[in-house]
Subunit: 290 residues, 2 copies
Amino acid sequence: MNLTSNRGNIIKGKPVADKISESLIKEVDELVNEGITPKLAIVRAGSRGDDLAYERGALKRCQNIGIDTEVFELPEDIAQEEYIDLLKKINNDKNIHGVLCFRPLPKQLDEKVIKYAICPEKDIDCFNPINFAKVVEGDKSGFPPCTAQAVLEILKFYEVELKGKKVTVLGRSNVVGKPAAMLLLAEHATVTICHSRTIDLPKVASDADILVAAVGKAKMATADFVKEGAVVVDVGINITEDGNLCGDVDTDGVIDKVSMITPVPAGVGSVTTSILAKHVVKACKLQNNR
Amino acid sequence: MNLTSNRGNIIKGKPVADKISESLIKEVDELVNEGITPKLAIVRAGSRGDDLAYERGALKRCQNIGIDTEVFELPEDIAQEEYIDLLKKINNDKNIHGVLCFRPLPKQLDEKVIKYAICPEKDIDCFNPINFAKVVEGDKSGFPPCTAQAVLEILKFYEVELKGKKVTVLGRSNVVGKPAAMLLLAEHATVTICHSRTIDLPKVASDADILVAAVGKAKMATADFVKEGAVVVDVGINITEDGNLCGDVDTDGVIDKVSMITPVPAGVGSVTTSILAKHVVKACKLQNNR
């Protein structure tokens, strides 16, 4: 696809998610016909608003696809041992194929210990370091973080050429920036990772054919961050002073410059739960040698 | 350090290795006084020439520092089960603190299985994915691959500023390119990873303040790959037609353009075994709660 041919196209997440769901419905149908129903467990300690919102979306998505779900709601002050005991129970439950642990965990829980307690085969959102290593190694048998994978799926759906292209990732978090960079590298992009210490960030960012913003700073990527004709994927979800959602990119400011840009909301966030569902089905198949 | 002030300096590995060794000798002395002698196990299946050469260097380095060593030489056709049994024995041996497995393994051994058999606490050359994940996550409790770590130690020894600087890594291997990129990212460099599919490689490379070449192609990085005043770290070790060693960088061609460059031989390779020794001591201390 010619990167300058679709100036200012807003590329939404919904068609991407719908296509993934459509294909999953068929896969789940086949599994159910064999007597296997994929099942997702959600482990949530406490009831943070954004966790609940994501949970509602994930449950709805799974329901529509035919994936069973079970939410394990734990008190916010749960002891580490009890949390780990639950993970062990889930690890041993043959009817559960994937598990999502909401993070960040409450303070008393040591993420550095708990992440090893979730068995890699059921770890569908890349909590266990073994899956993280697989993403970086380019080993496709693991489960990348859903948001990072969503970035890739959107670019593929809209037929954005990645091979050899210059991709700049703004942000180096372990949940989005780094894994997204590694997934794009595996697609043979030339990847640059930028962050708060980068000197002359706009110059480095505007050198990219494809810009992925995952910093968590409202509208920080302004027009000077974007090359004429670039494709922009905006992973940020920030709340503005007037209570609206916005991304890391100043969409209005860059819209006349870019060829495509994902909106916030209705962009990357809309694809994440379909990746989650896809990972549950993948895990279910692997665990049942399908 | 001003990147243009030392035009054409050849920066050797030996002073870096010597400094590390010097500090390790003291650390080992203190441990020995407490009745603890750090010990390295080397596991080698077969007797490839480059393995043997590296082994000789590693044994000599350890000896000079006061680290005990034991070489487990296995037949090249050893069965996977036996190889894993040996690793288990080493894992359980309280007198061994670090283990180096020569790779690539012989064909009949499945690296994807064996890498999980080495316990992460003794895995001083980043074979186990748990250590690989730690490198990428920026978790300093693990053990990065010795060669990747050597790149960083050389840059630090020669006081090359990394924060905010543009670093380009040529090569995306899991043993050097990616981990070196991640170590440099943790030092707040702006990191670009290039590879064979990168479009206009010389242009991307010559944009960097610091160029790390880890491709394994003799003298592939010519003058057009290098910015005026850049620092170049040449990780490649290649054998020329006339039987000499050379790096991935055309040293003669770039020497008048760079501010510093590591030679091949006597560059990165000279530092690797001192990092190995450093990791053995670190592992020994961690295992003895020191």
